[in-house]
């Protein structure tokens, strides 16, 4: 690398203003090109466009050497500075990484990550319109059957003996016990939506059942104010809904806003057939604005509550909210 091949003409003594402080310059601006020696005087820091000066003076090897030495010195200063900066940045990054990943765990992940998931949840609440509908599909798009997850589904359930327990109702302290007919009496709805597993696959499924808001109207929760239940006053409803399997092995927590979504339903038929045991007979939750893990099978209990409910997978490192 030769910094200079020929000494500039002595008559034109160009120099640089930016000897020690290379300020922010436009890129590709030369800041230290042709400084022939100590006698250089300050001039605007641009390359010399060299007017028609007859190049007669023979190059002075000493001056070139001196000039090159200076350039090299400045270059190594800049290089040192750059690498120290990069090294410091790397150390800071590694330190931050160490710190983030070694914090106290909250439900399986370090708290900075858990808090970020909660911030993401708040942002979704504040800036997204949760009423947006999940896309629906024509029935000929229905996918092949796929079953996943059997926690809380030990032994087959006897649909005739099964009861849905509902807690947190306006009607009083006693939990309500409903049979499947009570759900089937509600207006029936059908939809074909894409069921999305948190693992990353999805299937298109036809569901039939009762819209959750219809269920709520029929069996209204206790309101915060004590006033009569109304879907028009969502703020007056308990903040959360909790659901669990009859044996309590599997449980999900849901924000009421998502439960009120018009596509959230209590489902008893899948692809035109009554729910099979492995798909959650006799009644399961279908909530397209959440991943499959929240679509609880074989509902045993529904509870309206002000306290953020426990959630099976959120206790195992996953996001509690997972709103899609």
């Amino acid at each position: 690398m030769s910094e200079m091949k020929k000494q500039p003409d002595q008559n034109e003594t160009p120099a640089t203003a930016a000897e020690s402080t290379p300020q922010k310059t436009m890129p590709a601006t030369e800041i230290g090109v042709t400084q022939p020696g100590p006698e250089a005087e300050a001039k605007p820091q641009t390359a010399v466009p060299s007017p028609a000066v007859p190049s007669v003076t023979p190059p002075d090897p000493q001056a070139i050497e001196e000039w090159n030495r200076q350039v090299r010195r400045r270059m190594s200063r800049q290089t040192r500075r750059g690498f120290i900066g990069l090294g410091a940045g790397m150390l800071a990054g590694l330190g931050a990484f160490e710190w983030f990943t070694s914090r106290r765990m909250i439900n399986g992940i370090p708290w900075p990550f858990r808090k970020t998931l909660e911030v993401n949840e708040q942002l979704a609440h504040d800036y997204l319109t949760t009423g947006r509908l999940a896309p629906t599909f024509p029935p000929d798009r229905i996918s092949e059957d796929r079953v996943n997850g059997d926690v809380g589904l030990d032994d087959d359930v006897d649909a005739a003996a099964w009861k849905l327990q509902v807690e947190g109702l306006a009607a009083g302290d006693e939990p309500l016990k409903l049979d499947l007919d009570a759900i089937k009496k509600l207006p029936r709805m059908e939809m074909v939506t894409e069921f999305k597993c948190i693992e990353g696959w999805s299937v298109i499924v036809q569901w039939a059942g009762a819209r959750f808001t219809d269920f709520m109207r029929a069996f209204p929760p206790q309101t915060r104010s004590g006033n009569e239940f109304s879907l028009n006053h969502a703020d007056d409803l308990p903040a959360y809904v909790s659901m669990e399997t009859p044996d309590g092995e599997y449980f999900v927590g849901l924000d009421t806003e998502s439960v009120l979504h018009p596509q959230t339903m209590l489902c008893y038929e899948r692809n035109g057939e009554p729910l099979s045991q492995d798909h959650g007979a006799p009644l399961r939750l279908v909530i397209p604005v959440k991943y499959g893990v929240k679509n609880l099978k074989r509902i045993g209990t529904i509870r309206y509550t002000e306290l953020r409910p426990a959630d099976y997978w959120a206790e195992r490192g996953y996001d509690w909210y997972i709103g899609l």
Binding site: M4, K6, T116
Partner: protein
């Protein structure tokens, strides 16, 4: 001695490197849970993404929850850094060196031929040649693609129109994966080119300056 890369661009570049690595790493934790992509046709599979040994070797299995937590944490830094970079290049005028023009494509072919010793001509001495312009602009567009396809997977109900635009929820996931593979490819070519270009060029990305020769005739 010549100023080459502004401080802001150098910082964005070096900050992006570990962030993108973390995004790809946590992305692999997520991908493992449904690792369906392959190169092949019908029942013939040439290469499966990824062989079991790959997961075992790098400890990538059984970490979906962790992967999602990391992904949804570092995504903010990755996106913000990208936005800062693009904003800076636009405001500072740096984009002029980076965005390809009509000449770039012809020049890129020459660069390609040159690098494979098929063309002996001299490449233009500019900050970025045509191939670089195309590569560095593409990778930014890829970054945008990752943000958009990522959003489509992250909130497929909220942004269902985005999913339709990308060909559906499952397509968006595939595109997101493809872009990640693209970064790995970019990285390999980029590093090999940096090695070929040598110390002066690499040093410029750290210090901001490169050394240039002074021309005999013009003193430039």
């Amino acid at each position: 001695m010549k100023a080459k890369h502004p401080l802001a661009i150098r910082w964005c570049h070096w900050v992006n490197f570990p962030l993108l690595a973390l995004m790809i790493w946590s992305g692999l934790w997520i991908y493992w849970a449904n690792d369906v992509y392959r190169i092949g046709l019908g029942s013939v599979t040439v290469f499966k993404f990824f062989p079991e040994s790959f997961y075992r070797e790098f400890g990538l299995g059984q970490s979906l929850a962790k992967g999602m937590a990391w992904h949804f944490f570092f995504m903010w830094f990755f996106a913000i850094n990208g936005i800062v970079y693009v904003t800076y290049t636009l405001l500072s005028g740096e984009w002029r060196y980076l965005v390809p023009n009509r000449e770039s494509f012809r020049e890129a072919i020459l660069v390609f031929l040159h690098d494979f010793r098929l063309w002996k001509g001299k490449l233009p001495e500019r900050k970025f040649n045509g191939a670089q312009q195309i590569a560095y602009t593409s990778v930014i567009l890829m970054g945008l693609g990752s943000l958009v396809s990522g959003l489509a997977i992250y909130k497929p109900t909220q942004f269902s129109w985005l999913d339709s635009l990308l060909g559906g929820y499952m397509m968006a996931r595939w595109e997101h994966f493809l872009l990640a593979a693209g970064y790995v490819l970019f990285f390999m070519i980029h590093v090999s080119q940096v090695v070929r270009a040598g110390w002066n060029n690499f040093r410029a990305m750290v210090s901001g300056y490169e050394l240039t020769s002074v021309d005999e005739g013009t003193h430039e």
